[in-house]
């Protein structure tokens, strides 16, 4: 029963998604919503703004550098939680202890 129910729900969701994809504009067409003044400004003014050849680097570390700070904060938060959860038995500065444990095994 649960199997049939989940299949029906998946089919309904899949139908909605396929309908949405078929409504999407063509890839790379000139009148796409993504071809607006923002991307035009980036591609045309990147050399005089930043003197950088790689537009992606200019966007992620100059125009959108605040967003990249968010990304590095996500990395920092992730590694801090991993250190908290998995590294609870390893106190800071006790690397000799860890090496001894390695030798036992």
């Amino acid at each position: 029963m649960r199997y049939i129910l989940s299949t029906i729900i998946l089919l309904v969701i899949g139908t909605v998604l396929v309908m949405m994809v078929s409504e999407m504009p063509e890839f790379g067409a000139a009148d796409n919503p993504s071809n607006n003044m923002v991307s035009e400004r980036f591609t045309e003014n990147v050399i005089e703004d930043t003197n950088v050849q790689n537009i992606i680097a200019a966007i992620i570390t100059d125009y959108r550098a605040f967003d990249t700070i968010g990304e590095t904060t996500v990395l920092f938060t992730g590694i801090a939680s991993v250190l908290t959860v998995l590294g609870a038995h390893v106190k800071a500065g006790e690397k000799k202890d860890v090496i001894k444990k390695d030798e036992k095994h």
Partner: protein, 144 residues
């Protein structure tokens, strides 16, 4: 963890690691000239250290790149990034506006792009140490 029959693996890894690390540093430092950047190059650098740990054992890997160094480098990457932003505010612009250096440099040269080059370096160091720390800790958890 005893390494007895790993002579071929260890020799190949010993030859390959310098090239992998030079390639990673190249990708980080040329992030504003060619495809690449801090995240991709940092991943390559970190995976070279993971490769060393896989071939020689975690004990030697931790000896080569201690856990505390990884933690310090990781925090330093973020601090460098944010302090570059604060320095640009001191020079009268917005947060992370590209006015830290008097000129932007010549297009196509290594030292061009203003703050993009130091920010990419900081991101690369941070990503590399993050990956290595994650690997050490996941492996440690499995053994104990």
């Amino acid at each position: 963890m005893k390494n007895t029959n790993n002579v071929v693996l260890q020799t190949v890894v010993k030859i390959m690691i310098p090239f992998i690390q030079v390639y990673g540093i190249f990708i980080i430092m040329n992030g504003h000239l060619s495809p690449g950047g801090g995240f991709a190059g940092g991943t390559i650098l970190g995976s070279s250290l993971i490769l060393y740990s896989l071939a020689y054992g975690v004990k030697k890997g931790i000896e080569r790149f201690p856990r505390n160094h990884a933690k310090v480098l990781e925090s330093a990457g973020g601090i460098v990034f944010i302090s570059i932003g604060l320095l640009t505010m001191l020079r009268g612009g917005n947060f992370l506006s590209n006015n830290l250096f008097p000129g932007l440099g010549e297009t196509g040269k290594l030292l061009s792009g203003g703050i993009i080059f130091p920010i990419t370096l900081a991101i690369g160091i941070k990503v590399a140490s993050t990956i290595v720390t994650l690997f050490y800790h996941l492996l440690e958890e499995k053994k104990i």
